[in-house]
Protein backbone atom coordinates (compact mmCIF):
# COMPACT_ATOMS: atom_id res chain seq x y z
CA UNK A 1 0.00 0.00 0.00
CA UNK A 2 1.27 3.44 -0.90
CA UNK A 3 -0.43 6.75 -0.15
CA UNK A 4 1.01 10.04 -1.34
CA UNK A 5 -0.45 13.50 -0.72
CA UNK A 6 1.67 15.93 -2.67
CA UNK A 7 1.70 19.30 -4.38
CA UNK A 8 4.04 18.07 -7.12
CA UNK A 9 2.52 16.94 -10.43
CA UNK A 10 2.76 13.21 -11.11
CA UNK A 11 2.65 11.04 -14.19
CA UNK A 12 -0.44 8.86 -13.91
CA UNK A 13 0.75 6.45 -16.60
CA UNK A 14 4.22 6.09 -15.13
CA UNK A 15 2.73 5.42 -11.70
CA UNK A 16 0.38 2.84 -13.21
CA UNK A 17 3.30 1.14 -14.97
CA UNK A 18 5.30 0.95 -11.77
CA UNK A 19 2.29 -0.27 -9.82
CA UNK A 20 1.66 -3.14 -12.25
CA UNK A 21 5.32 -3.98 -12.91
CA UNK A 22 6.56 -7.48 -12.35
CA UNK A 23 3.32 -8.90 -11.00
CA UNK A 24 2.58 -12.45 -12.01
CA UNK A 25 0.27 -13.17 -9.08
CA UNK A 26 -2.41 -10.55 -9.71
CA UNK A 27 -4.53 -10.84 -12.84
CA UNK A 28 -6.45 -7.59 -12.59
CA UNK A 29 -5.29 -3.98 -12.32
CA UNK A 30 -7.82 -1.15 -12.15
CA UNK A 31 -6.84 2.50 -12.20
CA UNK A 32 -8.89 5.63 -11.80
CA UNK A 33 -7.53 9.07 -12.53
CA UNK A 34 -9.28 12.35 -11.97
CA UNK A 35 -8.47 15.24 -14.26
CA UNK A 36 -9.16 18.95 -13.79
CA UNK A 37 -12.14 19.51 -16.02
CA UNK A 38 -13.01 22.72 -17.78
CA UNK A 39 -16.71 22.48 -18.53
CA UNK A 40 -18.37 25.38 -16.73
CA UNK A 41 -19.88 28.45 -18.33
CA UNK A 42 -16.77 30.53 -17.78
CA UNK A 43 -13.40 28.99 -18.75
CA UNK A 44 -11.61 27.56 -15.72
CA UNK A 45 -8.32 29.33 -15.04
CA UNK A 46 -7.15 27.22 -12.15
CA UNK A 47 -8.21 24.94 -9.34
CA UNK A 48 -6.80 25.32 -5.84
CA UNK A 49 -6.96 22.28 -3.58
CA UNK A 50 -6.68 22.86 0.15
CA UNK A 51 -6.17 19.97 2.52
CA UNK A 52 -5.60 19.19 6.20
CA UNK A 53 -2.00 18.04 6.51
CA UNK A 54 -1.74 15.07 8.82
CA UNK A 55 -5.41 14.19 8.81
CA UNK A 56 -5.40 13.76 5.03
CA UNK A 57 -2.82 10.98 5.10
CA UNK A 58 -4.49 9.32 8.10
CA UNK A 59 -7.91 9.43 6.45
CA UNK A 60 -6.68 8.01 3.15
CA UNK A 61 -4.69 5.28 4.85
CA UNK A 62 -7.75 4.29 6.89
CA UNK A 63 -9.86 4.13 3.69
CA UNK A 64 -7.20 2.04 1.95
CA UNK A 65 -6.93 -0.34 4.91
CA UNK A 66 -10.71 -0.71 4.90
CA UNK A 67 -10.59 -1.60 1.19
CA UNK A 68 -7.92 -4.21 1.91
CA UNK A 69 -10.08 -5.68 4.67
CA UNK A 70 -13.14 -5.92 2.43
CA UNK A 71 -11.62 -7.29 -0.78
CA UNK A 72 -8.79 -9.66 -1.68
CA UNK A 73 -6.27 -7.12 -2.93
CA UNK A 74 -2.63 -7.53 -3.79
CA UNK A 75 -1.86 -3.84 -3.58
CA UNK A 76 -3.41 -0.36 -3.36
CA UNK A 77 -2.04 2.98 -4.52
CA UNK A 78 -3.51 6.42 -3.83
CA UNK A 79 -1.93 9.69 -4.99
CA UNK A 80 -3.72 13.00 -4.42
CA UNK A 81 -2.43 16.45 -5.20
CA UNK A 82 -3.04 19.70 -3.39
CA UNK A 83 -2.16 23.28 -4.29
CA UNK A 84 -2.69 24.92 -7.66
CA UNK A 85 -3.75 22.92 -10.73
CA UNK A 86 -4.75 23.90 -14.25
CA UNK A 87 -7.26 22.23 -16.61
CA UNK A 88 -6.06 18.90 -17.97
CA UNK A 89 -3.78 18.20 -15.00
CA UNK A 90 -4.24 14.99 -13.05
CA UNK A 91 -5.70 15.70 -9.61
CA UNK A 92 -5.44 12.22 -8.20
CA UNK A 93 -5.35 8.52 -8.96
CA UNK A 94 -6.10 5.24 -7.32
CA UNK A 95 -4.89 1.83 -8.47
CA UNK A 96 -5.87 -1.60 -7.21
CA UNK A 97 -4.39 -5.01 -7.97
CA UNK A 98 -6.32 -8.22 -7.34
CA UNK A 99 -6.54 -11.76 -8.56
CA UNK A 100 -10.06 -11.20 -9.83
CA UNK A 101 -11.45 -8.19 -11.63
CA UNK A 102 -14.51 -7.91 -9.39
CA UNK A 103 -12.36 -7.19 -6.34
CA UNK A 104 -10.16 -4.72 -8.21
CA UNK A 105 -13.15 -2.78 -9.57
CA UNK A 106 -15.14 -2.76 -6.32
CA UNK A 107 -12.14 -1.62 -4.27
CA UNK A 108 -11.30 1.17 -6.71
CA UNK A 109 -14.89 2.47 -6.66
CA UNK A 110 -15.01 2.23 -2.87
CA UNK A 111 -11.76 4.18 -2.56
CA UNK A 112 -13.07 6.87 -4.88
CA UNK A 113 -16.41 7.18 -3.11
CA UNK A 114 -14.70 7.59 0.26
CA UNK A 115 -11.97 9.90 -1.00
CA UNK A 116 -14.65 12.18 -2.44
CA UNK A 117 -16.48 12.68 0.83
CA UNK A 118 -14.27 11.54 3.69
CA UNK A 119 -10.76 12.74 2.91
CA UNK A 120 -10.18 16.38 3.96
CA UNK A 121 -9.71 18.12 0.62
CA UNK A 122 -11.52 21.23 -0.57
CA UNK A 123 -11.51 22.49 -4.11
CA UNK A 124 -11.79 26.11 -5.17
CA UNK A 125 -12.21 27.01 -8.81
CA UNK A 126 -11.13 30.31 -10.31
CA UNK A 127 -12.61 31.67 -13.54
CA UNK A 128 -12.60 35.18 -14.98
CA UNK A 129 -15.86 35.65 -13.06
CA UNK A 130 -14.19 35.00 -9.70
CA UNK A 131 -13.29 32.16 -7.36
CA UNK A 132 -15.72 29.77 -5.70
CA UNK A 133 -15.47 26.76 -3.45
CA UNK A 134 -16.79 23.61 -5.12
CA UNK A 135 -19.93 22.46 -3.33
CA UNK A 136 -20.19 18.87 -2.15
CA UNK A 137 -22.70 16.94 -4.24
CA UNK A 138 -25.54 15.09 -2.56
CA UNK A 139 -24.96 12.11 -4.81
CA UNK A 140 -21.37 11.81 -3.59
CA UNK A 141 -22.62 11.51 -0.02
CA UNK A 142 -25.35 9.12 -1.15
CA UNK A 143 -22.78 6.94 -2.94
CA UNK A 144 -21.37 5.89 0.44
CA UNK A 145 -24.55 4.13 1.44
CA UNK A 146 -24.00 1.34 -1.05
CA UNK A 147 -20.92 0.00 0.74
Amino acid sequence: MRVSVQDAPFDFAGEAREFAAGRTDMGAIVTFSGIVRDTGDAPLLEMMIEHYPGMTERAIEAIAREAQARWALGDVLVIHRHGRLTPGETIMMVATAARHRGDAFAAAEFLMDYLKSRAPFWKKERTAAGADWVAARDEDEAALTRW
Binding site: Y52, M55, F121, W122
Partner: protein, 83 residues
Protein backbone atom coordinates in the same frame (compact mmCIF):
# COMPACT_ATOMS: atom_id res chain seq x y z
CA UNK B 1 -8.10 23.80 28.78
CA UNK B 2 -6.17 25.01 25.72
CA UNK B 3 -7.23 23.61 22.36
CA UNK B 4 -5.84 24.19 18.88
CA UNK B 5 -8.74 25.16 16.62
CA UNK B 6 -8.23 24.85 12.85
CA UNK B 7 -10.36 26.24 10.04
CA UNK B 8 -10.37 25.17 6.40
CA UNK B 9 -11.79 26.36 3.08
CA UNK B 10 -14.53 28.98 3.39
CA UNK B 11 -14.63 28.61 7.18
CA UNK B 12 -10.99 29.75 7.22
CA UNK B 13 -11.78 32.59 4.85
CA UNK B 14 -14.76 33.84 6.85
CA UNK B 15 -12.95 33.74 10.17
CA UNK B 16 -9.82 35.11 8.58
CA UNK B 17 -7.26 32.76 10.06
CA UNK B 18 -6.27 29.12 9.64
CA UNK B 19 -5.57 28.25 13.24
CA UNK B 20 -5.71 29.64 16.76
CA UNK B 21 -5.26 28.49 20.33
CA UNK B 22 -8.48 28.75 22.31
CA UNK B 23 -8.93 28.65 26.08
CA UNK B 24 -12.24 26.94 26.73
CA UNK B 25 -14.15 24.92 29.26
CA UNK B 26 -16.71 23.74 26.72
CA UNK B 27 -17.78 20.15 27.32
CA UNK B 28 -18.75 19.41 23.74
CA UNK B 29 -18.02 20.60 20.21
CA UNK B 30 -21.44 22.27 20.14
CA UNK B 31 -20.63 24.21 23.32
CA UNK B 32 -17.32 25.34 21.79
CA UNK B 33 -19.18 26.51 18.70
CA UNK B 34 -21.50 28.58 20.92
CA UNK B 35 -18.50 30.23 22.58
CA UNK B 36 -16.90 31.02 19.21
CA UNK B 37 -20.16 32.38 17.77
CA UNK B 38 -20.44 34.81 20.70
CA UNK B 39 -16.98 36.26 20.01
CA UNK B 40 -17.38 38.32 16.87
CA UNK B 41 -19.54 38.68 13.80
CA UNK B 42 -17.06 36.79 11.58
CA UNK B 43 -17.35 33.74 13.86
CA UNK B 44 -21.13 34.07 13.95
CA UNK B 45 -21.11 34.14 10.13
CA UNK B 46 -18.84 31.11 9.83
CA UNK B 47 -20.90 29.06 12.28
CA UNK B 48 -24.33 30.37 11.23
CA UNK B 49 -25.41 26.94 9.96
CA UNK B 50 -23.55 24.04 11.46
CA UNK B 51 -25.46 21.57 9.27
CA UNK B 52 -23.19 22.95 6.50
CA UNK B 53 -20.07 22.16 8.55
CA UNK B 54 -18.04 19.15 9.52
CA UNK B 55 -15.79 18.72 12.53
CA UNK B 56 -12.73 16.61 13.25
CA UNK B 57 -11.34 15.92 16.72
CA UNK B 58 -7.64 15.11 16.76
CA UNK B 59 -7.88 14.46 13.00
CA UNK B 60 -10.83 12.07 13.15
CA UNK B 61 -14.29 13.02 11.88
CA UNK B 62 -16.71 13.49 14.77
CA UNK B 63 -20.20 14.72 15.59
CA UNK B 64 -21.05 18.12 17.06
CA UNK B 65 -22.30 16.53 20.27
CA UNK B 66 -18.97 14.75 20.85
CA UNK B 67 -17.19 15.54 24.16
CA UNK B 68 -14.03 17.66 24.05
CA UNK B 69 -12.46 15.97 27.04
CA UNK B 70 -8.82 15.20 26.27
CA UNK B 71 -9.01 16.60 22.75
CA UNK B 72 -6.05 18.70 21.64
CA UNK B 73 -7.03 19.70 18.12
CA UNK B 74 -10.46 20.63 16.75
CA UNK B 75 -10.96 21.41 13.05
CA UNK B 76 -14.01 22.96 11.39
CA UNK B 77 -14.59 22.81 7.64
CA UNK B 78 -17.27 22.42 4.96
CA UNK B 79 -18.16 19.01 3.47
CA UNK B 80 -15.11 17.61 1.74
CA UNK B 81 -14.70 17.67 -2.03
CA UNK B 82 -11.71 15.48 -2.80
CA UNK B 83 -11.17 12.97 -5.55
Amino acid sequence: MMIDVLYFAWVRERIGLPKERVETSAATVAALVEELRAREERYAAAFADISALRVALDQELAEFDAPLDGVREVAFFPPMTGG
